[in-house]
């Protein structure tokens, strides 16, 4: 087996050195009757064979790059520069563990420090952690953190929160014995969330751009939340939007969480992605996840270490702020490299291209009979009301080779009132030909 260096001779010599006659003697603590004779699995396979097997599975899927592609709703198709994937595959990044020995992991640590700074600056917040699993789990952690800060147990979720994010928060809260007030889905972007905030609210969780694409003015929500002693948790699923819209930090958010996949990371059918988590300096000790901090070494040279780890599970155990251990280090690295390549100048331009493409697409699609746009404002994603069931339209368009967006019913099943809604995203990867093809096909399907 190509991955196992020991030869038969080695094994015999080692067993002799250990002083046991056979390998089974090393497994003597496993009760005999429970020892497995063999597994009902195929035998070892060479590289070519594995490539064939997995290649066949991969070939049954339709890659986003091969079709006009407008699917978003929490994960976005963007172009990632070639150097990003090259650099994250450097052995020293790819095959290193969590930087528990800082003297020989300064590479990972300095990257995390750069990542934390980029995320803090992008969100307009004072501190960011070294990443979470993804946007949805970061949101659930933000709610738990708000409970710790406010010593209250009731979270209010806006109707524009991604339905999966809502489900993750609801699951965690139900299990932890906390309460959640989830407002009804808000495709029109018109709900009155202020009315839902009261003196028992720990936090109000608002996504902007919302699941339906609306840009939400967070400032009045922050004001009402703060007046009631609650926190504003601002959520985003499209981090690229922060290149063009006012950051949550400037609008009064106390915790900002979101999905960072769009920068540096491929779609990969939903994961691994990278959760971003930022907050105010005064809450740093209530924050979940790893933090990297600057210090000096014995020669007085600048260096970085994981710090404030007494918040974490390996020290606080049942009193930890979270049970999180693993972060999303390699995805955070990809994020940081891509963001470094973009810089402020590149990010702004990329965000404008996304917005321009989406604006143009929306204008084209509403030309189709019976189609209305539900958004006054949006970034690179918006919601259409179709004259018939959106899931069927999406299937019909897929049959024509166009992946048109996400029918809301896929995430909000059992809600006939939402059945005709389609969430459509357009990014820099779409060409004018893609948009024209989509608009023409939609005309046909709806005709």
């Amino acid at each position: 087996m190509r991955y196992l260096p020991l030869s038969g001779t080695d094994r015999s010599a080692m067993l002799a050195r250990i002083g046991v006659p056979s390998i089974d003697d090393l497994f003597a603590d496993i009760p005999k009757r429970l020892r497995v004779k063999g597994l009902d699995l195929p035998r070892a396979a060479g590289e070519m064979s594995v490539e064939r097997t997995l290649g066949r599975l991969a070939a049954k899927n339709v890659p986003a790059s091969t079709v006009p592609f407008f699917v978003g709703a929490g994960a976005y198709k963007h172009h990632v520069p070639a150097s990003v994937d090259h650099l994250i595959q450097r052995s020293e990044f790819l095959t290193s563990y969590t930087p528990y020995q800082p003297e020989i992991t300064q590479g990972t640590l300095q990257v995390l420090f750069e990542f934390q700074t980029q995320v803090a600056n992008l969100t307009g917040m004072e501190v960011a952690n070294a990443s979470m699993y993804d946007g949805s789990t970061a949101t659930a952690e933000a709610v738990l953190m708000a409970h710790r800060v406010t010593k209250r147990k009731k979270a209010v979720l806006a109707g524009g929160l991604h339905p999966h994010y809502r489900a993750v928060v609801e699951t965690t809260s139900a299990m932890a014995g906390d309460s959640v007030v989830a407002l009804a889905p808000d495709p029109a972007g018109t709900e009155d969330i202020l009315a839902a905030i009261d003196g028992e609210t720990s936090c109000v969780v608002v996504q902007s751009p919302s699941f339906y694409g609306h840009l939400i003015d967070l400032a009045p929500i922050a004001e009402k939340a703060h007046a009631n002693g609650a926190l504003l948790v601002a959520v985003f699923t499209e981090v690229m939007s922060l290149g063009l819209i006012e950051p949550p930090g400037a609008q009064g958010a106390d915790i900002v969480v979101g999905e960072g996949q769009s920068i540096g990371n491929p779609l990969t059918f939903g994961g691994p992605y990278v959760g971003l988590f930022a907050t105010r300096q005064k809450f740093v000790r209530q924050m979940p996840g790893r933090l990297c901090g600057e210090t000096v070494d014995a020669e007085g040279r600048r260096g970085f270490v994981l710090t404030l780890s007494t918040r974490e599970q390996h020290i606080r155990r049942d009193k930890a702020t979270s049970n999180i251990c693993t972060n999303s280090g390699l995805c955070a690295l990809a994020f940081t490299i891509h963001m470094t390549l973009l810089g402020e100048k590149g990010l702004g331009r990329l965000a404008r291209i996304n917005h321009a493409n989406a604006v143009e697409l929306a204008e084209m699609l509403v030309e189709a009979p019976g189609v209305t746009l539900l958004n006054d404002s949006f970034f690179n994603e918006f919601t259409l009301r179709l004259p018939k069931d959106a899931a069927g339209v999406v299937e019909a368009l897929a049959a024509r080779g166009i992946l048109a967006g996400v029918p809301v019913s896929r995430l909000e099943p059992g809600r006939p009132d939402l059945g005709n809604l389609l969430v459509v995203a357009s990014t820099e990867v779409n060409t004018v030909e893609d948009r024209t093809a989509f608009a023409a096909a939609l005309q046909e399907v709806l005709a």
Partner: protein, 523 residues
């Protein structure tokens, strides 16, 4: 106060300083690298894009007014910056990485290639299901392998890491208890457990009661029985445990736990020792997470991403969270929401957006297919063989808290062999760095004084282990001979000497700030 004796020195102390005398501060291949924020410029970008044609924005009043403060680098600068940073890292590709409980094994590059096939890397989680049949097939196939290896009934693939898998398993247990309407709120956790275990149980409202360990670090079934009651919801046990030992009495413990109406959660962090040797389902386990980034070699990536699928026994199978893959006669079906449920499916909720760590699923399945059932078993045998080979090579010089006995895939030493030398486990570990090794896991498990937990994995050759053992033997002899400075000053040859963790924690500096003169100049 609670006494915690893990308070080893966290500031560099009085080590002699050997300043670099080069102009640059560089030391040949070790090149000092400034922060991105010190070398980047605001008008530089490494991505060529055309400004869009004039259009009417739809941003309402929320267009960005404040600058972001994100300097950029051109591509050559960015490549050099991150290559230089990478060179400051130790990695499994460059050397033995014996971190106990972390299973730092070789990461085959075939797996990276497979994960990057456009059919996996470039598919969206919410594409029409008709366009992702291969992805669902792959999830089903991965599930089949995991269930066969563990002898369990169902699998939840979506958890994103080991601790997340633990949370998933304990949520299923909580849901099962609530479905029966029982008032169980206590979870038993051995004192040798990973910190994630009590943290997970506490997170969802369980009260943690610690089970004392026997002198050899294993769990005494009588101690468990004494704590069992109608209030006990579950026991969380790591097997093989964190001392590197297989819990001999696991079947008796499981039976007692089940007898008391409670569930058995197994922390699968150490699964690498028993793949193809024992099936946890037959040991009485009700739920176990599997760290794909440990046992099945998806790369650790400097701390993640991981993946933590959870396998369930028949008693918990129905509670597996959404989404899951239902295997039918017509092929696998991805069940994403409540509306799609069939009879007997009662998921406790949802752990993540979308369907889990697909990129890790591909890598893990690629690893499994490469090994086959026979190779997976051989890998476990070699991992255990290697650990015992290291144990036997060091046992006369280093001290084993559990006595001289066979271990599983990792071997545990304590610091008694350093008594009287003035050298701590930390100093010993840092001296290993100078010898070109990543240190073992230290000060864990907590039940052992100055613990050193060594897990060589099956990826090491005999020659590699021989040199490692010879190196550690030499260090022990030097420690005992009074060559103290070698240890107290270590590491001397790493990119950095010991770092001042006290300073980092007392005055946290968690992001780059513009130096004062900079901001004055800007105004």
């Amino acid at each position: 106060m609670t006494m915690n004796t893990q308070g080893r020195p966290t500031a560099p102390g009085e080590a002699a300083v050997t300043a670099t005398d080069t102009f640059t501060g560089n030391r040949a291949l070790q090149i000092e690298e400034a922060l991105l924020f010190e070398i980047g410029r605001y008008d530089v970008t490494g991505v060529d894009l055309d400004e869009p044609e004039t259009f009417t924005p739809r941003l309402g009043k929320l267009a960005r007014k404040t600058p972001i403060d994100l300097p950029g680098l051109s591509e050559p600068e960015a490549v050099r910056h991150y290559v230089r940073l990478s060179q400051k890292n130790y990695s499994i590709d460059s050397g033995l990485y014996p971190l106990g409980s972390c299973t730092m094994k070789h990461n085959p590059r075939l797996n990276e290639k497979m994960a990057r096939l456009p059919g996996f890397a470039d598919v969206h989680p919410l594409q029409p299901l008709s366009t992702v049949a291969g992805a669902v097939d792959l999830m089903a196939e991965l599930g089949r392998w995991l269930l066969e290896m563990t002898g369990m009934t169902s699998v939840a693939l979506s958890p994103k890491a080991g601790a997340h898998g633990e949370l998933c398993g304990m949520m299923a247990i909580k849901a099962a208890i609530e479905a029966k309407g029982e008032p169980r709120n206590i979870v038993l956790v051995p004192e040798s457990a990973h910190g994630t275990n009590p943290a997970t149980a506490a997170l969802i409202g369980f009260k943690v009661v610690t089970v004392p360990a026997r002198a050899d670090g294993t769990v005494d079934p009588e101690a468990v029985k004494a704590l069992l009651s109608p209030q006990v919801a579950a026991i969380m046990l790591t097997n093989p445990n964190t001392c590197g030992l297989f819990e001999r009495d696991v079947v008796e413990i499981a039976a007692a736990v089940h007898e008391a109406g409670a569930y058995f959660y197994c922390d699968g962090a150490n699964f690498n020792a028993i793949v193809g040797k024992a099936k946890v389902g037959e040991l009485g386990v009700d739920a176990m997470h599997i760290n794909l980034h440990k046992t099945f070699s998806t790369p650790h990536g400097g701390g993640g991403p991981g993946a933590g699928p959870v396998v369930f026994s028949e008693r918990l199978a129905a509670f597996a969270p959404l989404p899951f893959v239902r295997v039918t006669a017509d092929g696998p079906v991805l069940v994403e929401n409540e509306v799609a449920l069939e009879g007997g499916e009662t998921p406790f909720g949802r752990m993540v957006a979308f369907h889990g760590q697909m990129g890790m699923f591909v890598r893990a399945l690629s690893y499994m297919l490469s090994h086959g059932g026979d190779g997976l078993r051989q890998a476990s045998e070699d991992a255990v063989l290697n650990a015992n080979y290291v144990r036997v090579g060091l046992r006369d010089l280093m001290s084993q808290p559990s006595g001289d006995r066979t271990c599983m895939h990792e071997v545990l030493f304590d610091d008694h062999f350093l008594d009287g030398t003035g050298i701590t486990t930390l100093d010993f570990a840092k001296a290993m760095i100078d010898e070109g090794y990543h240190p073992m896991t230290m000060y864990f498990p907590l039940v052992v004084h100055g613990a050193m937990l060594i897990e060589p994995t099956e990826s090491e050759s005999k020659a590699s282990l021989d040199l490692f053992v010879a190196t550690l033997r030499d260090l022990v002899l030097k420690a005992k001979a009074g060559d103290t400075a070698r240890f107290l000053e270590a590491p001397r040859f790493a990119p950095r000497r010991r770092l001042d963790e006290t300073r980092a924690a007392r005055q946290p500096k968690l992001k780059w700030e513009k130096p004062e003169p900079w901001s004055e100049a800007a105004e």
